[in-house]
Amino acid sequence: MARTRTQLLMAAAGVTAVFTATGCGAADMTKQSSPYANVGGAKSVTLSVQSWVGAQSNVAVAQYLLEHELGYRVDTVQVDEVPAWDALSQDRVDAILEDWGHPDQEQRYVKDKKTIVPGGGLGVTGHIGWWVPKYFADAHPDVLDWKNLNKYAKTFKTAESGGKGQLLDGSPSYVTNDKALVKNLKLNYQIVFAGSEAAQITQMKQFAKAKKPFLSYWYEPQWLFNQVPMVEVKLPKYTDKCAEEGAKDPDSFDCAYPTTPLQKYLNADFAKKGGKAAAFLKKFHWTKKDQNEVSELIASKGMSAQDAAKKWVEAHPDVWKKWLP
């Protein structure tokens, strides 16, 4: 009896403690950071890692420099692109280093809510498109025009695509208009989502090994080009009008993807109070060649991201010295 009473008291005390700690007033969960951040007094930065290797290279180099040159602790969280915006606005992550253009989110968080601020360009230009392997393009040069794609539908057929040709798409998180394109260009193709980029790469490598033909959604910069040389298929020319209509009605896309200068974004509070780390991330700026160098080390040489970053940092002090505040 006495013991149960003590236990009850303790439980009550515990509950009270939690409530005292959380405060009795409002608790804005958009201002609550990760429980793993800043443990043990270390200054810490949380970076969002996207699933593709190029983005991993950015983060790896930034992390290496933040840790070794500026004395921060860096946490990385893998979040898909759109949720990453949400997480960024809630300060669950401090920065996104490579964004491929999300006008809706930009409108909401940067312009309306002002919880996110642009961090400047990354220096790399991204381009999305449809690609075929070089060995196939060499043998069949006319495949490079979208108008001839239907002719090759049978060639690109697989078990997963049924009777149609297979257009291999990657992670569901990527920016894609492929469904609309296939429909509007009246292509006899079935889109097969690999589910993740990794799965897509595995599949492409396997095709390449067997010298089989394939048609895939892909993008630059991408290290895989070094291993599997590919040629882009020309889609109807990109126009601003097409993009504007597409923004209104995603089902109406009927032109190629634009070429996007990749952007960095920071949490608004972090940008103000983040000190050296925020200043450093704002200045972070490199080229497609730099990024590919690191990506290649990670993806095909089997190096860990940190080792690859170290190697690049040691080789290119002239580039990163400029980023330090």
């Binding site: 609550q32 909401r108 998180s173 097969v192 589910g195 067997a210």
Partner: protein
């Protein structure tokens, strides 16, 4: 007076008839006849219903797929709701004063545990866990614990392991408390139990993936959402077992306690709860297992820790890295499972009489505390709080080489059996595609009718109604086509699972040696989180529906084998002996005695197989299985909650339907522990 005299004479006349219609499970021989006649009657009713409704439906909405006129477009309101939430998350009172506090409390709790774990350092944590395991579960489990934590460190996964441990500790505590309270209500109040039971039954069959979206919608990406999704997933078994334990308490003991004049509270604390302690501990065990398997899935919504590492590795097809992150999860699961399980076994035994006095009671616990502190201090003085980096053993490289070798040699062109790539494409071409086309080609009302028939034949009209309504809901939500796709994948994988599972199960039931060989393998397999299975299958089977099916089969197989073996083993030995005495051969014994008598167990195996396969087929969306799983992944990845929620709801309906169609009379708990 005439009424009194006629009554007894009518009674005997009605009673046999009533006895005939009631389902009678005790007598097998008249049972089949009764079932047949009942089945015939049910079929007749269904035929009549179909004869009226099908022409109507056909005339009005003749199409293979669900008619567009009967769908409700929910994406618009859902999209608006999601926008409203995002816009008001930092201003509306419900977020500021309710969800905000929950989220904050979760963050603080996780942080406190995490800081404690980091402060203890690797030495302290290892020592504390090992001593704890030794105290509650004995030396063997303690050694397992020690080795497991050492391996976590050696794999270079110390920090993520601690993050997962912190998240787990909070999620499991919350699940146990919430589930325990719900179970308490259900155990003490008949009405609460009746209200709770269908909910718990349903939650038990839902794939973990379906829980993520609603949570993300409110809490956003991050630890609070991950913890809450885990709690929603892991609390039901605790609630269920608590309620069952309290209700199953020996009535005689409770009466004796009441006869001594115990108050309600004394009765609860000194009798009911202690009497249910085995179930309570089993509940804790199941909760931990569910939470661990969810901890990985929760990484999709920013749970961090080991799950995040697995997720990262999975997205770069780095099998080595994924294994390095997956192994600690499995080890944590094994350690926690063994600790709670053997603590449960030890409960019934009296305290050991032997051994030094200092090894018993509170002095031992104090000793555990002191040793932990000392070791932690030594660890801190000797080096860093986290595992020394120099001690890590990189396994990524060799594992990846091994994987490459496997892929090179197994993927294609293996003589006679063919490579895994050929298997995958054959499976897709000859099983999945025809099945999918068949299901999608079938008129929608035919599908509903088949579901109704199956559910009614195996259960009551209520089950049939639930199953049909669930199926219709899928159509109304407008995701008929992808649901049929998912259904075809589930059915095909279940088929393979059952063929393999029954074959191995029968073999294991007949050979003790094989069973002994299988047991540890099954034990480990059953404690593995679903996610871990996805890694190797991508390497072997490429991308698409085949790897998802392979993962599903491997995941569901242990449960099916185990239930089959146990079912066959538990067949009344007297029946078997009498068959043997009549000179039945081994085959005859199996066919005529063992299998018919083990029917309930086999049905249960089918049910479990279906539920487990569905869970993994959904996760298969991450490796290209498409359909509903992909929609959920897409919804999460694009923040398109309309798509994701609709797909999640469809998964719920599909799970409900599949469960009802295969539900045996009695149901046991998910992992059969």
């Amino acid at each position: 007076m005439s009424a009194t005299t006629t009554r007894p004479s009518t009674d005997p006349a009605t009673e046999p008839a009533a006895g005939g219609t009631a389902p009678d499970e005790t007598r097998p021989s008249p049972l089949s006849a009764v079932v047949r006649s009942r089945a015939a009657r049910k079929l007749a009713v269904l035929v009549v219903i179909a004869a009226v409704l099908v022409p109507l439906a056909h005339a009005k909405w003749a199409s293979g797929s669900w008619p567009g006129a009967l769908t409700v477009d929910v994406s618009e309101p859902l999209g608006k709701a999601s926008d409203w939430i995002i816009d008001n998350r930092d201003s509306h009172w419900i977020f500021l004063y309710f969800f905000g506090h929950i989220s904050n409390a979760v963050i603080i709790c996780v942080r406190v545990v995490y800081v404690v774990l980091l402060t203890l350092g690797w030495a302290g944590v290892t020592a504390a866990s090992t001593l704890l395991a030794w105290r509650v579960a004995g030396v063997r489990v303690a050694v397992t614990t020690l080795v497991s934590f050492a391996v976590c460190g050696l794999l270079g996964m110390w920090v993520p392991t601690m993050q997962t441990l912190a998240l787990m500790a909070v999620a499991v505590t919350a699940s146990v408390v919430i589930g325990g309270l719900l179970g308490l209500a259900g155990g003490l109040s008949e009405r609460a139990f009746r209200a709770l039971r269908p909910i718990l039954d349903t939650m038990q069959v839902l794939p973990a993936f379906a829980y993520l979206l609603p949570v993300v919608l409110i809490f956003g990406i991050g630890v609070p959402g991950a913890v809450l999704a885990t709690v929603i997933y892991a609390a039901p078994p605790m609630a269920r077992l608590t309620a069952l334990g309290l209700r199953g308490a020996d009535a005689g003991v409770l009466e004796a306690v009441a006869s001594l004049g115990a108050t309600w509270r004394q009765r609860l604390l000194s009798a009911r709860l202690p009497l249910a302690r085995k179930e309570l501990l089993l509940g804790v065990n199941q909760t931990i297992m569910m939470a661990l398997s969810m901890a990985v899935i929760a990484s999709v919504i920013g749970g961090g820790g080991l799950g995040d590492r697995v997720y990262q590795a999975l997205s770069s097809v780095d099998v080595g890295k994924a294994l390095a992150a997956g192994l600690p999860i499995v080890l944590l699961a094994v350690v926690m499972d063994r600790t709670t399980a053997s603590a449960g076994e030890r409960l019934g035994e009296p305290p050991a009489e032997d051994g030094h006095r200092l090894l018993r009671g509170w002095p031992a616990w104090a000793g555990v505390g002191v040793i932990t502190v000392v070791v932690a201090l030594i660890g801190r003085l000797a080096g860093s709080q986290t595992w020394p980096t120099g001690w890590a053993i990189p396994i990524e490289e060799p594992v990846n080489q091994f994987k490459d070798w496997m892929v090179d040699h197994l993927y294609t062109g293996v003589p006679v059996v063919g490579g895994t790539a050929e298997w995958a494409s054959d499976y897709v071409k000859w099983i999945l595609d025809p099945l999918r086309e068949g299901l999608q080609g079938l008129p929608w009302y035919a599908v509903l009718l088949i579901v109704a028939t199956l559910a009614w034949l195996i259960g009551t009209w209520a089950t049939a109604l639930t199953a049909t309504a669930a199926m219709a809901a899928i159509g109304v939500l407008g995701v008929w086509e992808p649901s049929m796709d998912t259904l075809s994948q589930v059915l095909a994988a279940v088929f393979v699972t059952l063929v393999l599972g029954f074959a191995i199960g029968i073999a294991a039931a007949r050979s003790t040696r094989l069973e002994r060989l299988l047991r540890p393998v099954l034990d480990v397999c059953q404690t593995m989180p679903q996610f871990v299975y996805l890694i190797p299958v991508v390497a072997l089977f490429g991308v698409g529906r085949a790897p998802a099916a392979a993962a599903a089969i491997v995941y569901a197989l242990p449960a099916v084998i185990r239930i089959t073996t146990q079912g066959l083993r538990n067949v009344d030995p007297a029946a078997l002996e009498s068959a043997r005495s009549l000179g039945a051969t081994q085959g005859q014994q199996l066919r005529q005695v063992q299998l018919p008598l083990a029917r309930p167990a086999l049905l249960l195996a089918v049910n479990q197989g279906v539920v487990l396969v569905l869970a993994v087929v959904i996760i298969g969306g991450l490796v290209g299985s498409g359909a509903l799983g992909y929609d959920v992944v897409f919804g999460l990845a694009q923040g398109d909650l309309a798509t994701g929620l609709v797909a999640g709801a469809a998964i719920v309906c599909l799970g409900l339907m599949l469960d009802r169609v295969t539900q045996p009379t009695s149901r046991r708990d998910r992992k059969g522990a």
